[in-house]
Symmetry: C2
Subunit: 695 residues, 2 copies
């Protein structure tokens, strides 16, 4: 059967050929939000208080000195230009909020969407800028206080989030603006839930939230210097790695929609779009995704994407799956037309942006008003468009990996392990030879070793290469020219990962190239004991991840130690290194059960400020546990390791380890040798042999 | 300063001298329930799905054969008489619901309140009877299916709760009654929250919930055979055990009320009343409480109690604390007058009964209507009566023990341990000598040993004495003439406790008088490992109990085993053996943090249907942990044991135990010897010596 493909337009990244040129104040009835998705756990890297935030691309960080220079002369201009737009008749606002996000709530975003960084000069991954007619303030968290102080000019007030007495952005706006002010946002950059929360907050002072969906004010002043939108071609994710074809994925999704009485869904998370369509892209660093929305109806599916990215191969692939193409920027008209078609639309308001949701809601409202005008019979209403506000069903389907995805992940992890071993062998020798290496040099070398592996694409996040005190900074990223040397006098923490064509990796090892102190050994051993306890856990089906979190902390708690991040996050299969809905965290709000086929990280840690940091991370696959009983007639689950890289035994305090824990370590190293040695030779093979001997 | 005492009335237990002789349909606006208290964890005895239920008194169980006889001839009469009342003009209902509760949501209730047992003939602790004009049904859970089948006549439909396809009582009523029926309840026997939930459920079929607060329909047909209400004297709980006087407790409570803008609170949980007033009673089995309500206002406090129970000593005690007395049955008029006084009333709607709450709400409504009639100035409204629906602040204050309470608990536990040791020494000898003993004989003997201890009052719950397969019935209670012998061929589980003048105990030991099987040893050892893991846990302040629950199960889960009850419940100090708000449970709804001074049980188990049961239970005191660090500048907490009775080492499979676990067991036994040996002599001392030797 042939699928009809709508002709892709020529100009592709003009996001908003506006369907309705007007401002929508967000003053609709309260939502029926059935459940909020917990996006990802707050693990050691890339997350911020349980919520994924944008990270700077490595280029951006490398260009930090330029940014600082720019900011020292140009920021005033930017603020002036921005404020000039406030009074335009099609704008008319008293303040404008510029968040870090893109339109898809992505963790990593394309540079052309780094509007907050452009406006403020502050290049940290997390931050929100608020500009009023006479003030400008930037909120960021403890990780970035120093960086923000350096990068912001004095026209900006730095708001240290989480510090006593520092107001939130909405508290500040409520404080400084006279009642009844108009506060503008770009509704594409806020999830509907986030916009709704903001609206509630500022309504305390009778401020109105203005959704300026026709244009982004920062883009208006960015002009020529704005980087082009990403336009690299997408590719088909081979069925041998995907394991299920698009037709069956869509068919599963449709049957799910049907169960809930829905006729359509808007999929806006980029990894969900990529997963459903077995497509990959390279629009953002670290994640093999591309900018697009997918609308799945019961009888058709439409991908909203820049047609430049669609190669012939991809076009064929989509045609075969009966997926139509439309321009990325035509998503809002499509939402309108869904309402006209009386769609029952599934909307995950925790991820779908406020522009989409509010357009649908307005259209529903108009529909209902027309009906009221045309008829006195109230009962025909139920034929009209309607929305189901519920967490996207794609997230869970994507989290439970099929056999091909698992196979791909296992293979990618073995190649990644080989690269790791070669790297550690090399690094150890370099340090022994007193070669001067910075944290960045080390990260770059690791990248080179990985690049030699088959199917390597890129790093799955910015490498955290932290020597000594830098290891204690959980979200540390070394900056060239401004980072430590890696030496043999303290612990060295290395958290890194890669995207391969068949899988995604994420591993942390902490080593000492000299003599660790007794205290460092005790801390390392307690972290390792937590790691082992999670690894060995067996638990009944339907157990949420947070139940296991205490196992990772118990040994640390025994001596009054702890760590301030979650223990495990979900990982995509050749997709995002952070994905929901599962997690292992001390935050017990996430009730998602760990299920067979899910992948989670196991990364307890310990961080001593201004001294050292320890983290030991493997990825684990949830599997059926091999248990002799099945009390309650249910399944018991456990973990299978995906990561096979030696753990440095020099740092282990044997006297603290139980015989069972020692056995675990020896068994693990035996497995590492067995699985990884066939991929190695020469010095690296010798190194592996030495580093997998039982203790 | 002299306190005014209102003269106690002569006739004291006529609960309802009705202030307003009319029926209140419960059709008020929805509640603002800030938080629901989780009463107690669902531990091994006495609780039912996380919710405490009435237990039959031992007398009632002993009289089970009589009950059965009665039921075989009289129940028809009872149903007929009950239904006859349905059509009375002051009643006018289509169905009547008879729950197990008393008016205070007590775990143990006085026999005169066992209306459901009287009406149905079913004497189990948990059950709800529903009678319509032509049908009668009883809901109970899996523990009681067999017993209910035996005890109910064929006029009753047995509803096996939790079984597939069995409707809830409200679903059943919605199913069998024509729409718009009137369903009556005694609002004293439902917490307001429970009544509200019921009302919501039956409103789906447009049924109306009728609160018949003037009389209980079962009482009307019970007549002369109804046992007298308890009227034994109350006593003063010595300040040396209470640790804080009534004046300071009331003053603390008042400052708490003040913080929330409240002027009064109704305390209705019997243990909260007893704790606040440093009084004890003997109105119900196992709990040293008495029937009463306490109303605390900012400038006065009134105890609503049968004056017959107030001795001269108690009267003096109350007078000194400026607590006034009023008749128990005058609580509703008092609630009315609180509304007239414009009280801001703190009501814990999860425990305060629907009669009290609905009377206050009606009075508030009348007040507000009068104001509307008398004045057009809306602003004076805020001077009117109002309610704060929030969990009682007394529960938490009571749960955190002061030094005197802790001291009393420790002393009571040592005497209880001495009695236990004497008992086990005796029992072991009896079994060796092949003396025939039933489970009841054994429980009776244990009682005799305890009775010899100073300050002993009574058992703190019905002793669970389960040999072999009976040990697998979590809520097992042996019935004289219908129970097993205790022999040396299987495991014997004994869960018991006592009320002493200075403390409350609760202990379970599982032993084998012959040769345990390898499998039994493995199961016992895994339960013991869970017990040890909880005992040794160290955790940061603000950790809710459920976080620790996994520690108790981990070793069982490793081989696919588990148990279907919580791990720990709170325990009162010379008060109820089950108290909230803390718990250690796999149910993660209870966010109450474990706090220094709280007492919890530690009682993991394993139960093999039709074979054997294992449970090992000590009581633990939450204390500051002695840790060398304090990461995050916070306190780390741990447990101190209160229970000191040997754990049978014969049943321990040493090969499964870690060195640390073996050390725990040896250390524990060394402590047991040190603490309990001074209280013993002769054979018991020898037995203790033998049973505390290191392994």
């Amino acid at each position: 059967m042939e699928a009809t493909l709508s002709a892709p337009p020529l100009s592709a990244f003009l996001r908003r050929v506006p369907p309705l040129r007007r401002l929508i104040p967000l003053s609709l009835p309260p939502l029926l939000i059935a459940s909020r998705r917990l996006r990802v756990s707050s693990c050691a890297h890339g997350s911020d208080g349980g919520r994924i935030v944008a990270k700077p691309s490595s280029e951006l960080r490398r260009g930090i000195s330029e940014a600082r220079e720019n900011s020292s002369k140009g920021e005033d201009e930017k603020l002036l230009s921005l404020r000039r737009i406030f009074s335009r008749p099609d704008v008319g606002i008293d303040a404008y909020i510029v968040p870090s996000q893109d339109a898809h709530q992505s963790e990593f975003i394309a540079e052309c969407f780094m509007r907050r960084a452009f406006l403020t000069g502050f290049t940290g991954s997390a931050g929100t800028a608020v500009v009023t007619k006479d003030k400008a303030a930037l909120w960021t968290d403890g990780r970035y206080f120093l960086q923000a102080e350096k990068e912001l000019t004095r026209d900006w007030i730095l708001m240290r989030s989480g510090t006593r007495g520092v107001p939130t952005a909405s508290e500040w706006l409520n404080d400084i603006l006279p009642p009844g002010a108009r506060i503008g946002i770009d509704p594409f950059l806020f999830s509907f839930d986030a916009a709704e929360e903001l609206k509630q907050e500022i309504s305390k002072k009778n401020h109105e939230l203005i959704l300026l969906k026709e244009f982004n004010l920062v883009d208006e002043i960015w002009n020529d210097s704005r980087p082009d939108p990403p336009s690299k071609p997408t590719r088909v994710h081979d069925i041998k790695y995907a394991g299920a074809d698009v037709v069956s994925k869509l068919s599963y999704l449709r049957s799910h929609l049907g169960e809930y009485g829905c006729t359509a869904i808007v999929v806006s998370m980029l990894d969900e779009v990529a997963w459903l369509l077995n497509m990959r892209g390279s629009d953002v660093p670290h994640s093999p995704v591309f900018y697009g929305y997918l609308v799945v109806e019961l009888d058709r599916a439409t991908l909203f994407v820049d047609s430049k990215k669609v190669t012939k191969e991809v076009l064929n692939h989509l045609t075969n799956a009966r997926v139509e193409l439309k321009p990325y920027e035509s998503i809002l008209p499509e939402i309108e037309s869904l309402a006209l078609k009386s769609a029952k639309l599934w909307l995950d308001t925790s991820s779908v942006n406020a522009a989409i949701v509010s357009v649908f809601r307005s259209a529903c409202k108009r529909y209902s008003m027309q009906l009221n005008n045309n008829s006195t019979n109230q009962s025909i209403h139920h034929g009209g468009p309607d929305a189901l506000y519920q967490v996207s069903p794609v997230a869970l389907a994507k989290a439970v990996k099929n056999n091909a995805e698992i196979e791909g992940m296992k293979n990618a992890h073995l190649r990644d392990a080989a690269a790791s071993v070669e790297f550690w062998c090399w690094l150890e020798k370099e340090i022994e030879s007193n070669v001067t290496l910075t944290e960045v040099d080390v990260a770059d070398a690791l990248l080179e070793f990985r690049q030699k592996q088959e199917g390597f694409i890129e790093t799955s996040f910015d490498t955290i290469s932290g020597y000594g005190a830098n290891g204690a900074i959980i979200h540390y990223r070394p900056i060239p020219g401004d980072c430590s040397l890696v030496e043999n006098k303290n612990l060295f923490l290395l958290d890194s990962g890669a995207q391969y064509v068949d899988g995604t990796t994420d591993i942390t090892r902490t080593v000492h190239f000299g003599e660790p102190s007794k205290w460092q050994k005790e801390c390392f051993t307690r972290v390792l004991q937590g790691h082992i306890a999670i690894d060995e856990a067996v638990f009944p089906e339907r157990t949420p991840g947070f139940v296991l979190d205490v196992l990772a902390r118990s040994s640390l708690w025994k001596v009054g130690l702890d760590y301030r991040h979650g223990t495990g996050h979900g990982v995509g299969a050749a997709l995002n290194v952070h994905e929901g809905p599962q997690s292992i965290s001390f935050r017990f709000g996430n009730l998602t059960a760990l299920q067979k086929g899910m992948i989670v990280s196991n990364e307890p840690g310990y961080y001593e400020d201004r001294s050292f940091g320890i983290r030991i991370e493997n990825l684990l696959l949830v599997t059926e546990a091999n248990v002799p009983n099945a009390y309650g007639g249910i399944e018991y689950l456990g973990f299978e390791k995906l990561t096979f890289v030696p753990i440095q035994t020099k740092v282990v305090e044997l006297s603290l380890m139980s015989p069972g824990e020692i056995k675990w370590l020896n068994d693990y190293h035996a497995q590492v040798w067995e699985k990884v040695s066939p991929l190695l030779n020469g010095e690296a093979l010798d190194w592996l042999w030495k580093n997998t001997r039982p203790i």
